[in-house]
């Protein structure tokens, strides 16, 4: 059981060490060792997780809670200092407000709570989250080594603060472990705040005006969520002065009447953290950060903290009007973010909007919260984390080689960077194609919604939103695989570290699709069973068929090897004009003309601004509605 606190403390120790080390070789060693130990330790959790129900691990050090309170105040002071330095007064105001709530909570609970023993715990869902954080997070850390070195070569005017970079990344992992293992809500809140702080600092890493602006945007929105979270703590203390309900599990198992208000408040915090509309702006802005940060924020940490907590509270939300509305916020976000992604040509922005869309889908599942939907939501979390981190790291690698992150510049990438392209291809396929991961969960979600209350609205959202997803992913795929034969190969000089990480993630993307029945049977189903008393799975027939499809897909590329190469290669049809392979031809008057192929973006239909405004207004209205409803319950 020592593994739980070990996983929380160890990355923090590694982080502290990394803050001290400035030699590159030493840093490399520590990051490798830290990542390896974290990964192995999180894997070892597989052996200690109970078959059903959570396993608690009391931590009887009251001083820890006190320490966390002091740390939170210190963070507030630090943030206020930064706020003054950069003249961001809204941020200062929000931080002060949150700190005031905290002090109020701490003094309010006074001596009453001293008899409460905070718990760490582990159940299958925590284990899944820990595996995502431990494996994917660690891989991203390793990848960052090579990436950050290149990053600083490319951006000589950004001060080299790699020490604090790796410090923050490891602290981030530590906080995420803390978040998923804590049962005591004030602790969860503490770790929650740490992730806010780390993401804030990481987004502002380059200290350009834009990055500082976006960092504060992220901070403001997340602190807003933090305020709601603190409000939830205060509410619990108010209705339950004994404080037993500050334990996550007792809160969830308590009556609807008490748990609903904190669930909605924390759900709101989750919405801000997982960047649903109208808070999606911060996640899109976060892409100014170095790519591994985006990968970290989008796949394994940060946004997953938001959906984690909403999925935890799903049993409270299920069947309530509030839960339904929160689900709708997710659903609307899914639909509109998918549509916006169509109009984007910046690869990282497409990834950002697809993340937002998928988080929306997870929240939609969790908000409606039937047992089948929770099953689908957890699957979504797993598949999304792997495929999305792979895609971000691929884009980062490509960006360093071709000097652009624009999808239009990735024409014929398969010729220029074949291995990376294949990995990217698999990653994208993992995001939307049968029989890969995300589609399995979408499928499960459709089936589950068709049995759920008001499910039709969500089915409509999934049907339309799902088809939009197909559009933007496929046209990206198409760009990559266009065979522009004259392009030059630029795949050399990519470090083995990067290759290793990318290969592992690619393998994981495929592997998880193959073994997901096992994951489902041993991790997801016991969790759903423990919480809801019943569980679901895909039928055996369908699993077999999916496996066969996957197998087909894997063997089919070998047909290329069998294919005889004596076929006549002719240039593309260009209205009869003799054309070179890169589409240059002799125009009339003897002028050389070049043809460029550019994807459709449908700006006038799926324009970012228009849809974002619409989505924000809609989601804001929904959140106001749920706020009013909750206030009605609370008073």
């Amino acid at each position: 059981m020592i593994t739980l606190p070990f996983l929380v403390v160890f990355p923090a120790l590694a982080a502290a060490l990394l803050l001290l080390i400035s030699r590159d070789s030493w840093r490399r060693l520590v990051v490798w060792a830290g990542a390896a130990v974290t990964g192995i330790a999180s894997l070892s959790l597989l052996f200690i997780t109970p078959e059903s129900g959570p396993l608690f691990y009391p931590v009887g050090y009251e001083v820890l809670s006190e320490g966390m309170f002091v740390a939170e105040l210190a963070i507030a002071v630090f943030l206020i200092y930064l706020g003054i330095k950069y003249r961001k007064y809204l941020a200062i105001f929000l931080i002060l407000f949150q700190a005031a709530l905290l002090v109020f909570f701490e003094t309010g609970r006074g001596s009453v709570l001293h008899h409460i023993t905070p718990n760490l715990f582990i159940d299958q869902f925590s284990l899944i989250m820990a595996l995502i954080i431990g494996i994917i997070g660690s891989l991203i850390c390793v990848y960052s080594l090579g990436y950050m070195a290149t990053y600083h070569e490319r951006h000589p005017n950004v001060p080299d603060r790699r020490r604090s970079f790796f410090f923050l990344v490891f602290i981030f992992l530590s906080a995420m472990f803390g978040l998923v293992f804590s049962d005591y809500l004030p602790w969860i809140f503490f770790f929650w705040e740490i992730t806010t702080l780390c993401s804030f600092l990481l987004i502002g890493y380059s200290k350009t005006d834009e990055s500082i602006k976006n960092a504060f945007l992220a901070l403001n929105m997340n602190i807003l969520g933090g305020i709601a979270f603190a409000g939830a703590l205060l509410y619990i203390i108010a209705v339950n002065p004994g404080g037993e309900l500050l334990h996550l599990h007792s809160l969830i198992q308590s009556s609807h009447a008490i748990a609903l208000v904190p669930a909605v408040l924390i759900g709101f915090a989750g919405i801000t953290k997982s960047a649903l509309m109208p808070f999606s702006g911060w996640l899109v802005g976060a892409m100014v950060a170095p790519t591994p940060v985006s990968a970290l924020l989008h796949s394994s940490t940060m946004v997953k903290a938001g959906v984690y907590i909403i999925v935890r509270f799903a049993p409270v939300l299920t069947g309530t009007m509030e839960g339904l509305i929160i689900g709708l916020v997710g659903g609307v976000t899914f639909l509109l973010a998918s549509a916006i992604a169509i109009s984007q040509s910046n690869a990282k922005k497409v990834l950002a909007y697809s993340t937002i869309a998928n988080l929306g889908l997870i929240v939609a599942c969790a908000g409606v919260g039937t047992y089948k939907l929770i099953w689908a939501a957890i699957l979504l979390i797993i598949f999304h984390a792997i495929a999305k981190s792979l895609l971000f790291l691929c884009v980062g690698t490509v960006e360093h080689r071709i000097g652009s992150r624009d999808i239009e510049d990735m024409t014929g990438l398969i010729v220029r960077m074949p291995r990376i392209s294949v990995m990217m291809f698999i990653g994208i396929a993992g995001m939307f194609l049968a029989p890969f991961g995300m589609l399995i969960s979408k499928w499960a979600a459709i089936e589950a919604f068709s049995d759920a209350q008001f499910g039709l609205a969500f089915i409509a959202i999934l049907a339309f939103g799902g088809s939009l997803t197909v559009l933007f992913w496929s046209k990206w795929m198409g760009k990559i695989i266009s065979m522009c034969p004259v392009a030059e190969r630029v795949e050399n000089n990519i470090s083995t570290e990067k290759w290793m990480v990318l290969s592992i993630l690619t393998a994981l993307t495929v592997l998880v699709c193959l073994i997901f029945p096992i994951i489902s049977a041993h991790l997801i189903e016991p969790f759903v069973l423990a919480v809801y008393g019943q569980t679901t799975r895909l039928s055996q027939d369908n699993i077999t068929i999916m496996a066969m499809m996957l197998f087909l897909l894997m063997i089919m590329p070998f047909s290329l090897l069998l294919y005889r190469n004596d076929k006549r290669i002719v240039p593309a049809y260009m209205g009869g004009r003799p054309t070179t392979a890169d589409l240059t031809f002799q125009g009339s008057m003897g002028i050389q003309q070049h043809v460029g192929l550019c994807n459709y973006y449908f700006e006038e239909v799926f324009g970012e601004q228009k849809l974002f405004m619409a989505g924000s207004a809609l989601c804001f209205g929904l959140i106001l509605l749920v706020g009013t409803l909750t206030a009605g319950v609370a008073l």
Partner: protein, 288 residues
């Protein structure tokens, strides 16, 4: 649950039926235009000829994508006729079309590139309605399995008239006929040369054609589901539906992609969603 023998029958018979349907289609179209028209077996001659031609390529990878397209169209159809999960069938069907689109993209040719983009627009135009149809059938029969839907004792059409009309829209798009033949045309007349199929020639084009036959049989099978309680009525309806498609094809000119997308989604919303909404509301009275 699964009926492997049906899947095998589909594998063997679907190209025959699909080709014959295409032949009848061409004959009727010719008669409507006051022509004699080609022989009934003309589609088979065409495909036979394509396999006798030399294979020329723009990019060798085209071959892989088109093979995958054919294979997954066949897989989705076979799965459908074996009585498998309707949603999985639809996803495999989408996967197949993504391969067709990728094949067009891979050739780096302006015409097939535009065709690919337009094919994608068509996919997002019809995809929601197909999913809504599956969900509608599930609402009535409480099962996503084609086998169970086939075995339903109630006429699905009486519960899902709106969904049925919405599905006809899908069929019109999928048959590659006017007015929605954006990405490539069933006919000789050309707008963007041949759209997605521009760079496929000889045997490869033959495979695309065969896939199209399989696809049409699958779509007709889907329509059959609405009337599965009475095979005689079902076959009659199939004939009528196909005839209406031919009439539409011969009376409408091609529309823009905007109109295609808009009308497809509006029909999916008005017909499909409204129908499902009413069913949802009345779900207490729907027999299981």
């Amino acid at each position: 649950m699964m009926h492997i023998e049906n899947a095998l029958l589909f594998l063997v018979l679907a190209p025959v039926i699909g080709g014959l349907v295409a032949g009848i289609d061409r004959k009727i179209t010719a008669r409507m235009q006051g022509r004699v028209g080609p022989p009934l077996l003309q589609p088979f001659y065409d495909v036979g000829k394509l396999f006798q031609k030399e294979q020329i390529l723009v990019a060798p990878s085209q071959n892989f994508y088109i093979t995958a397209y054919l294979v997954f169209i066949v897989v989705s159809g076979a799965l459908f006729f074996a009585g498998g999960d309707l949603l999985l069938v639809i996803f495999a069907f989408t996967l197949a079309h993504i391969f067709l689109v990728l094949g067009a993209y891979s050739s780096y040719s302006p015409y097939s590139f535009i065709g690919a983009e337009r094919e994608l627009i068509q996919i997002i135009a019809y995809e929601p309605m197909i999913i809504l149809s599956a969900v509608g059938m599930h609402l009535v029969t409480r099962s996503f399995y084609v086998a169970d839907i086939m075995a339903a004792k109630v006429p699905l059409i009486s519960y899902l008239p709106g969904v049925f009309i919405g599905f006809l829209m899908v069929l019109t798009i999928k048959l590659r006929k006017s007015p929605f033949d954006l990405s490539t045309s069933h006919h000789a007349h050309q707008e963007i040369v041949k759209g997605v199929t521009t760079e496929f020639s000889g045997p490869m084009l033959g495979r695309v054609e065969i896939a199209h036959w399989y696809e049409n049989v699958f779509l007709l099978g889907f329509i059959y589901l609405f009337f599965a309680w009475n095979p005689l009525v079902a076959i009659l309806v199939l004939a009528i539906v196909y005839f209406i498609e031919i009439v539409i094809d011969n009376t409408f000119s091609r529309v823009t992609w905007q109109l295609t997308l808009k009308s497809a989604w509006i029909i999916a919303g008005l017909m499909g969603l409204a129908n499902l909404g009413i069913l949802y509301y009345l779900s207490g009275v729907v027999p299981v």
